[in-house]
């Protein structure tokens, strides 16, 4: 990966943006110049703003015929040299899954913003949920890894979109911003710095584009039109891209590497934020919009003298198992409020040695701070 300090495009200063607008600006700052999309609530504002802003910054925007077309056109553009993105919500994210597996297997860096709404199926299109987290991890068939963020503010919709592009380029992997409707439509102040650090894919003429000597390496990535006579295929391929559909060793080697290149570097990828953990008896583990309520609750309970802490997961995948393990060694209880039926609580159970209490809310509403305070009090 080569890191470059570039102009943030948007003049430095404070802005009053919605989360969806912020994600758009983050993408532009990160160097995204291709967007293929399809309208879907509650993510549509991202595409609408891209349609306007790409005219100003010189990007290529196309509204495709469906979400499958959107993600496939994104992959095509990335192979042609672009940094590219699409945004969607549950039903569209479902349609994209086959191509996400293709991107993971062909090591095509791209970013998807999933502004989650209340599922399953069409569900409640305008209301909030956080039910796509396991789908982000396991949605396509076969074994692969992705990286996903969980933004809690408009500022993070901007910052994490930039980070998503950087990690996508660094690891040649699809990266998802698992936003929620509440943060996509939230309006609040956010700051833009004069410059941003952006990562660019490595190019090395003649080097194998689909293999490394190490079992966790990231190969250089040439683009179409550079004279490399690239062979890109979603079939099992060797380091040169040649199809090897009946060689078990080639398959094993490739699958192991695309998993290891993320898992073995997880400590560089995973981001968490700790509040009042040192002496906490009950630790709330939360992410996304719910973490805002959880922080409010933790602060209030601390004022009451209650030993409550908060661990915020800024990234969801790869999972912060090692952090959870440490928290579970010191705390008596871990409390996990979620806008789904306990998707991450189940993951926490794999690592925590203490008691884990899950609170699931799937009524299309955010989880209120007072609800968290009430439930945490009952655990103390």
């Amino acid at each position: 990966m080569s890191v470059q300090e570039t102009d943030s495009i948007l003049p430095a200063g404070s802005y009053y943006f919605s989360g969806n607008e912020a994600a758009t600006e983050g993408a532009i700052a990160a160097g995204c110049r291709y967007y293929g999309g399809y309208p879907i609530t509650p993510s549509t504002e991202i595409m609408e703003r891209i349609a306007v802003r790409f005219r100003e910054v010189g990007g290529v925007f196309i509204q495709m015929e469906d979400e499958i077309g959107s993600i496939c056109s994104v992959i095509g553009a990335v192979c042609a040299g672009a940094k590219a993105m699409t945004a969607t919500s549950g039903p569209g994210f479902s349609l994209m899954q086959e191509a996400i597996g293709y991107a993971a297997f062909t090591e095509t860096p791209l970013v998807i913003v999933d502004v989650q709404r209340a599922g399953p199926s069409t569900g409640q299109a305008t209301r909030v949920g956080s039910g796509d987290l396991m789908q982000a991890k396991w949605g396509s068939h076969g074994d692969y890894q992705i990286i996903s963020f969980s933004p809690w503010s408009v500022q993070e919709m901007y910052d994490q979109t930039i980070e998503a592009f950087n990690l996508a380029e660094q690891y040649r992997v699809p990266v998802f911003l698992m936003a929620e409707e509440a943060v996509g439509h939230l309006r609040e102040r956010m700051d833009v710095k004069p410059s941003v650090k952006i990562a660019n894919r490595i190019k090395k003429k003649g080097a194998p584009p689909f293999g490394t000597p190490e079992d966790d390496g990231v190969p250089p990535m040439p683009s179409f039109g550079e004279g490399e006579k690239l062979l890109v295929t979603g079939s099992t391929h060797n380091e040169l891209g040649i199809r090897k559909t009946d060689d078990g060793k080639v398959h094993e080697k490739l699958v192991v590497r695309i998993n290891n290149k993320i898992l073995k570097h997880r400590e560089n990828i995973i981001q968490t934020e700790a509040y009042y953990l040192d002496d906490a008896n009950v630790v709330v583990v939360a992410y996304g919009f719910t973490a805002r309520s959880a922080l409010f609750a933790a602060k209030r309970l601390r004022k009451e003298g209650k030993k409550v802490g908060l661990l915020r997961l800024k990234t969801i995948w790869p999972f912060a198992g090692h952090v959870i393990k440490e928290v579970g060694e010191k705390a008596e209880k871990i409390f996990v409020p979620e806008m789904n039926r306990g998707q991450i609580a189940g993951e926490i159970l794999k690592y925590a040695e203490c008691k884990v209490v899950s609170y699931c809310q799937t009524d299309g509403e955010i989880i209120h701070p007072h609800k968290i305070m009430e439930l945490v009090r009952s655990l103390l």
Binding site: M64, I68, L230
Partner: protein, 253 residues
């Protein structure tokens, strides 16, 4: 494949991955001859294909950038690559099941947008790679693994479909009309906008054996005899030509 076209083939690949009697080799030849005669630089060409036998025509055989994609999605991938880098000469080569059944939506929308690319559809009227199931192009009454009493549905007329969607150049030829096919591919490659070639290519392995063709040569012969030029079809009228395959150019510059 004739030796004078060897430069267009990737070093080390087998001469042809296709079954004996398959028409895809002739189509492959016609495509490369068209490129050769037009002196198109291979380093600026991108060949995109989906899943199926015809998707293996360019990948890995052609000595250029190739993108072997998901089933049905070749045109969508090609759209992204072409939109981002308009310098690329983008050619999609895939089968009838891939481009017109699972991928039918992308086909009509790329034609509607008049997306600057050439799509070559190798139509063998059946799903070859998966073992001979009925396709959206299988003739009425034809036997396949999934239409054991004969296909009860009408096939798409692919040229009419793409023409109606707004393509800039549309032609159909059989691999038995190799020179006309090559010339049509040249015209398609030379025409700006969405250009479409339907290349009828026999599949003796899956279609032939279920439909009473004793040998690949019989299939080729029947195909040759079934084709009538579009001008003749217009002269003799719709009724007289209804059992024929009409070949020629349907939309051109």
């Amino acid at each position: 494949m004739a030796r004078d076209l060897e430069a267009y083939l990737r070093t080390g690949v087998k001469s042809t991955p296709f079954c004996p009697g398959c028409g895809h080799g002739i189509l492959m030849n016609a495509i490369l001859r068209a490129i050769d005669e037009l002196h198109l630089p291979m380093e600026k060409m991108l060949f995109v294909s989906g899943i199926g036998c015809a998707a293996w025509i360019p990948s890995p055989n052609f000595n250029a950038d190739t993108l072997h994609t998901l089933h049905g999605r070749a045109i969508a991938f090609a759209t992204g690559a072409k939109m981002f880098n308009p310098e690329l000469k983008v050619v999609v080569i895939s089968g009838d099941g891939d481009l017109t059944s699972i991928g039918g939506n992308h086909l009509i929308h790329a034609a509607r947008r008049d997306m600057d690319m050439t799509v070559i559809c190798a139509n063998n009227m059946i799903y070859g790679m998966t073992g001979g199931q009925a396709a959206s192009t299988t003739p009425l009454g034809a036997y396949t693994a999934t239409s054991v009493e004969g296909n009860i549905y009408r096939p798409f007329d692919l040229c009419k479909l793409v023409q109606a969607a707004g393509a800039s150049y549309v032609a159909r030829y059989s691999v038995t009309q190799a020179v006309s096919l090559k010339e049509a591919i040249k015209k398609a490659l030379n025409t700006k906008g969405f250009t479409f070639i339907e290349a009828l290519s026999p599949c003796p392995t899956q279609f032939g054996r279920r439909n009473r063709y004793d040998a690949p040569a019989d299939m080729l012969k029947t195909l040759m005899e079934s084709c009538i030029p579009v001008e003749e079809a217009r002269r003799i009228g719709l009724e007289a030509s209804k059992d024929k395959i009409v070949t020629g150019e349907f939309t051109h510059g």
